[in-house]
Amino acid sequence: MQQGTGGSDTEVTWEDQQNINKFGRLNNRFHELEDEIKIAKETNDNLEDASNELILTDEEVVRFQMGEVFAHVPKEEVETRIEEMKEVTSKNLEKLEEEKESVLAQMAELKKILYGKFKDSINLEED
């Protein structure tokens, strides 16, 4: 995001500055959210693959990673654990997506206001 680069005479009020600051913060948060959503999606996929593998395996005891070691855990318990983990991850993913929508909406609002006042003097696009 670049700040005003035109040579116009539009004055920048404190309110404008606060809007610009808020846009900057939202933009940063947007990028952080994109990264977090990517990680959450990967975790979700991994859990999906793991639970599919579980269905196919005929071993009774599965090595389940806890911390740095692999504990021998009976298959049913592993299934339950993976279900719980999937619940947590999907809820987290949902929350992140919601926050992303809200951030995008706020950014669109601010863009309207700032472009309205500064027109060409300000650039709010990704470089």
Partner: protein
């Protein structure tokens, strides 16, 4: 949270937050230049230097944030392991686990029922705790880490605002200078 207003006119200047100086918002470029007694180039140089300082602090804070963000899942994993050990305690069966001896080489361990665990505290120190004490210590560490992370994120937001204000001020001072030059040129041409 330090958000003290400066002694001058407006509530628009935040003096500082935890050692980070606040960027002064400029109402009018001309007044700002005459107040500080700087000419355009010195003002631009000063603002650029401020920007560099902010960037340095930002890198430091980002590094701290990354550390904290790595530490939190670690503590959560430890809590999980202690909880599993506690759960196993009731059943009387031992926990069998495969652990890494060296890269690519694993060995099997048999963990009997135990009332205590050892926690690594850092600085080559490890202490033995009962399961309950361990859980509460780990929970406390987790709370502290999360709280520190929140404060850090707020610091970063404040810092980024100051960076934005400084960048906008630089652009405005520069534009004002260009504008002044144009006026001077326009005034000079009729006589040429």
């Amino acid at each position: 949270m330090a958000a003290a207003s400066s002694s001058s006119t407006s509530p628009k200047t935040t003096t500082e937050r935890r050692g980070i100086p606040g960027a002064q918002f400029v109402e009018d470029v001309e007044t700002y230049l005459s107040q500080t007694g700087l000419d355009v180039n010195s003002a631009l140089a000063f603002l650029q230097e401020r920007l560099q300082q902010y960037k340095l602090v930002e890198m430091k804070l980002l590094a701290q944030q990354r550390d904290l963000q790595a530490k939190i899942p670690d503590i959560e994993k430890c809590l999980d392991v202690v909880a599993t050990l506690q759960a196993k305690k009731g059943t009387g069966e031992a926990l069998i686990a495969d652990f890494e001896v060296s890269e690519g080489i694993y060995s099997r361990a048999r963990i009997e029922d135990s009332d205590s665990v050892c926690l690594w505290l850092g600085a080559n120190v490890m202490l033995e705790y009962s399961c309950e004490e361990a859980t509460s210590l780990l929970k406390k560490n987790l709370e502290n880490a999360k709280a520190s992370l929140e404060v850090l994120i707020a610091d970063l937001q404040f810092l980024r605002d100051q960076v934005t204000i400084t960048q906008v001020t630089i652009a405005r001072v520069y534009n004002w200078d260009v504008h002044q030059r144009r006026i001077r040129q326009a005034a000079a041409t009729p006589t040429a």
